[in-house]
């Protein structure tokens, strides 16, 4: 039996199909995955993402710790509440995890890390935090609910505790605000506007039910996957892992090599950049009927590669995916789908943002 979130019983009562995800029993969907997907693109949907782990880092050395641990530069976080997406790397440049880091004050940052990697992340962070006197506090006492879609913020705002409401209303994109044990951030994993709300576990069911009563659709991990893929967002373990660097994973934009800052993995990335990356991660649009799936082989003029994530895009009504290929690959490629080669076109993600297609079909 897997671990359960504070909302487990509510998921079952709503008829969810439960699956294992990173050691947790999570809802994959409540009915039609495509309807859940459209709810987020067109209106508002909510996800239980309590399996992800919030981690508070506290102490005077916290910024110095993250300057060293993260490939993206937390030195750029000047305004309290500002958040940043980053990879955390091994010395050889492999990705330990991708995460969100939020700057709250000079003695407090909050990270949100993936469920399946939380234990190894915590061990890695603690090892480095110890030397610098920073406390590492995993917040398993919190549930996390993501409310996403064009109407998500408007539906969520009236349901927040009074103290958090005003701060939430003023949040810019990629900012967060804390109020007692509630933490609201304007972030997400769908390519839509919205909030992610961390709150005490005992308050989660009431908040979830109130959102449902306000017309926010329950959405499972299935819809979360089609939404993030349309938005061109990587999934750790599928699109990158410890054997790939951010530079080979479409995440060069999250790596700050400039300047004197010496983060773990920097030398390896500099060497890779100097030599030229051998492979890249990019988007793929299937030109015929069928569905791209992870691990399908891809053939390009520059050599072979593999689909790392693939699905049917409900917004585009076509199959899309992410693919790792030799860096020189370009134009049209062929994908081995169940023994037959189908043409597909390389495209630059995202495929969809804020409800609108971003690529030519």
């Amino acid at each position: 039996m897997g671990k359960r979130t504070a909302l487990y019983d509510l998921h079952l009562a709503a008829g969810a199909r439960m699956v294992d995800f990173g050691g947790w029993d999570m809802p994959v969907g409540y009915g039609s995955q495509i309807e859940e997907h459209h709810a987020v693109r067109r209106d508002a949907g909510m996800f239980d993402v309590s399996h992800m782990c919030a981690v508070d880092l506290r102490g005077a050395g916290v910024r110095a710790l993250l300057l060293r641990l993260l490939a993206n530069d937390v030195g750029r976080l000047a305004a309290p509440g500002k958040a940043l997406y980053s990879c955390m790397l091994r010395p050889d440049g492999g990705v330990i995890d991708d995460l969100i880091a939020c700057y709250l004050d000079e003695k407090w940052f909050r990270l949100v890390v993936n469920a399946g990697t939380a234990d190894k992340d915590l061990a890695w962070i603690k090892e480095h935090a110890k030397q610098i006197g920073v406390a590492v506090v995993p917040r398993r006492d919190l549930a996390i609910i993501a409310v996403q879609g064009p109407n998500a913020r408007a539906r969520t705002m009236p349901l927040l505790p009074e103290g958090a409401r005003e701060a939430a209303g003023q949040l810019g994109s990629f900012f967060g605000a804390s109020c007692d044990d509630w933490f609201v951030s304007r972030t997400g994993y769908t390519g839509e506007d919205g909030f992610e709300v961390a709150l005490p576990s005992e308050a989660a069911a009431g908040f979830w039910n109130a959102l449902a009563a306000a017309g926010v659709a329950r959405c499972g991990l299935g819809a979360r996957d089609t939404l993030r893929l349309e938005a061109g967002l990587n999934l750790y373990g599928s699109d990158m892992d410890e054997t790939t660097t951010p530079l080979e994973s479409g995440l060069a934009w999250t790596v700050v090599l400039a300047g004197n800052r010496d983060f773990i993995g920097k030398a390896a990335l500099e060497n890779q950049r100097a030599a030229g990356e051998a492979q890249k991660l990019t988007g793929l649009l299937l030109l015929e009927r069928g569905v791209l799936r992870s691990h399908q082989k891809v053939f390009s003029a520059a050599g072979e590669g593999e689909v790392t994530s693939g699905t049917y895009s409900p917004t585009l009504e076509r199959s899309i995916g992410l693919v790792r290929l030799p860096a020189a690959a370009d134009g049209t490629v062929e994908v081995d789908i169940r023994g037959k080669r189908s043409p597909a076109r390389l495209v630059k993600p995202p495929f969809v943002r804020n409800g609108k297609p971003k690529i030519e079909i």
Binding site: G222, T226, R289, G290, V291, R293, Y312, P314, R338
Partner: protein, 130 residues
């Protein structure tokens, strides 16, 4: 709970069979199967005239989640594939035992028919997690 009409025959691989008045057999996938697959987005049906042996993969149903083969429960000749599924694969989700039929087959009688189950036996297969 999924529906299991009492007047149909079933297979362990979640196909159903309905014998039509002219002796041809209509074949589809069960309500349980479509629920497991989720929203169907692509269905490949066999062409009329194709000769099938019992147990042959005869169609592909692909959902957002996964692709799955459909196996012919009988030996015979394909009379028709459901043309509606090319543009409306969701017919299988909406009406798996009716408009969502996949193919019609004229049994040849030759070759061993795959094991077929009545509704009660099929219900037991589903209940056992098959």
């Amino acid at each position: 709970m999924s529906q299991i009409p009492a007047d149909l025959r079933y297979t362990r691989s979640h196909e159903w069979m309905r014998t039509l008045p002219d002796g041809t057999v209509e074949i589809g996938i069960t309500d349980h199967a479509q629920q497991s697959l989720g929203d169907l987005v692509f269905v490949e049906v066999p062409e009329a005239g194709r000769q099938l042996k019992a147990g042959d993969a005869c169609a592909v149903v692909e959902s957002v989640k996964a692709a799955s083969d459909v196996y012919s429960p009988l030996t015979g000749e394909v009379v028709a594939g459901n043309p509606g599924l090319a543009t409306e694969p969701e017919l299988i989700n909406k009406d798996p035992f009716g408009e969502g039929w996949i193919l019609r087959l004229k049994p040849s009688g030759g070759g061993a028919a795959a094991e077929s189950l009545d509704a009660a036996a099929y219900e037991a297969v589903v209940a056992a997690g098959g």
